[in-house]
Subunit: 356 residues, 2 copies
């Protein structure tokens, strides 16, 4: 593969001049510039980003470590991060932690060795010593979606309490009283926050939460299924199962279907986290939609601020309740076709996730 030296020789100039052309340095004659361009195309020259990075100490690369690549939430997040980074001229390397601290640490190490300019992490449960060290060393780092206690790192997360409160209000208005929650793991900030918000909202509405109505899940399909099974086996099963993320919803749905129960007549279902196909389940699933794409974009802006030496401030973006029909017909509306969001619209409907 042609090197800068070859281009220089072919064009009859020095490597410095070729480098200047490469970097749009204005102090190169139009004529020389053209000769260099000609040499580049003649030799099929492609600058070696490895060499360049070694010298400039910048890779124009961001590392993104997500929790689970098969979870559509993280996929959409990755997509948004990628798009926003691309606009700024950065490439993204995605690492899939598979919700395991050791996998996460593996990627942190790999990405640091590759000298990414910034690191976006959706941290798994444990605060590993590696993460602590990286944070302490002051390397550009931003937490995404989740946070870790006791670590000083700017973060972008979702503010879920308001939407959860709205959901509980909606359920109460529909006449439901016995509401169960399949939570995410208490080791994750998102799991804790949603559980706390659920408890608080129930209390605010004067509804009791017996301990057996709080199932501890792990943001995986299997735990959603198992949690739903235990809830449905209770002497007094809940009227509503509220699940803490889209994969556990998938599991709970599977269990409900396997028992031949009808939604919402036998048991209602609501999901934290919305995915496109919820609309196509019969009945369509009431869900709390997260501002996933905005979350990713905000995180990129934040990490680039840190990379480029500007200050970065943590942010929390509001989630939004999307009322459909899986918890019963809304008393304030028409039939299934007229189901409408309690918020400014229904971001779960239609083509909003397809791009041009």
């Amino acid at each position: 593969m042609a090197r800068i030296k070859d281009v220089a020789a072919h064009a009859g100039v020095s490597v410095a001049t070729v480098s200047r052309v490469l970097n749009d340095n204005p102090s190169v004659t139009e004529e020389t510039r053209n000769r260099v361009y000609a040499a580049m195309t003649a030799l099929n020259y492609r600058p070696n980003a490895v060499a360049r990075s070694l010298r400039t100490e910048a890779t124009r690369t961001l590392g993104l470590i997500i929790g689970d690549i098969l979870n559509p939430f993280f996929t959409e997040l990755a997509r948004a991060v990628e798009d926003e980074a691309r606009l700024a001229g950065y490439t993204v390397i995605i690492g899939n932690a598979d919700e395991r601290a050791d996998e996460q640490d593996h990627y942190v190490r790999t990405l640091l060795e590759r000298r990414v300019d910034g690191l976006l992490i959706c941290p798994t449960a444990e605060v590993t010593s590696l993460i602590e060290e990286v944070a302490r060393a002051g390397r550009p780092l931003v937490f995404l979606d989740r946070t870790l206690p006791g670590i000083e790192v700017p973060s972008v997360r979702v503010e879920s309490a308001a939407a959860i409160g709205e959901l509980i209000g909606h359920l109460k208005a529909l006449g439901h009283r016995r509401i169960a929650f399949i939570s995410g793991p208490a080791t994750l900030s998102t799991g804790r926050e949603r559980t706390e918000a659920f408890r608080a909202a129930m209390a605010a509405h004067g509804l009791a939460v017996p301990p057996e109505y709080l199932e501890a899940g792990d943001f995986r399909e299997g735990s959603g299924r198992a949690g739903a099974a235990r809830l449905l086996d209770l002497p007094e099963p809940p009227e509503v199962i509220f699940t803490g993320d889209n994969l556990m919803t998938l599991g709970a749905l599977g269990e409900i279907r396997a028992r031949g129960l009808r939604i919402p007549r036998d048991v209602a279902l609501a999901s934290f986290d919305d995915v496109p196909w919820f609309v196509h389940v019969d009945p369509a699933i009431t869900a709390i939609a997260q501002p996933t794409a905005e979350l990713g974009r905000a995180a990129v802006r934040m990490i680039l601020n840190r990379v480029e030496g500007r200050p970065a401030e943590s942010a929390a973006l509001p989630a939004q309740l999307v009322v459909r029909t899986s918890c019963g017909e809304t008393p304030y509306g028409g039939g299934p076709a007229a189901a409408r969001g309690a918020g400014a619209g229904d971001p779960g409907q239609g083509d909003e996730r397809s791009r041009s």
Copy 2:
């Protein structure tokens, strides 16, 4: 950040010795080795992969360019590629072409500049001059899922004809005759292959395919919806809509639901490409499942063969029909709960997509 020189000074050895320790060179005394390790931890040393790559001309990185990161098919593919690459000690950089040739070319350029050791591409429609050049230059390149005509590049793809033949047989056995197909773009090899297989299977079963029963889609949700709308508006609408990929299925489903039609009574639906939630649609959607993960793993093995100088041979992996209930009850089985795969099982059911 500490460099190899600092470690050498701290341990009282030369940089060559540190490098030897780093690379597990056996000709280093146990004692020296320990001193070097101690220095490394003391200084929090992390080898600079950029510098190493410059010298060794290897990045231990693979590039993967997929068609659309929001399509679960490609996500699962990416996941498998990542896993298999990781086993071999490689990192993967994923580029999302968004089904556009210019985006694809952008990533090809970026990845070449970053000197990835090998390139896995799910090529978009056009044969761009860049792709041609890269193929001609003999750089390690493997086509994944799709192929390009007239370009000598090893590829891994899905053999769909047999499964499509089986599906048509299944539909005919259920009494359906008027079967329409919403195809992928004819510019993609997968689009062409599925359309050809559909025509051939229909002909083999003595069924006619009027031109208006062949809708040209583009593997996007919107075209599935529009195609379904046109088919349902025909004076003689089809009894079955067969869609060419999972996103178009999503669109067609949306259109069918919006019209208040019941599946399969008013119109049956079958999908090429299976995704986990098809099980939860009511009725569950009959689909042709692709060996997605195996596709990704095979592609990695192939590119690593090429990278390491071994020969690589193209492969085609068989798709499999998964019969559910969206085309009607099977005359050879029980009720919905007893729906069973025509093949060796139902890879679309249960937890097979969750990992430990």
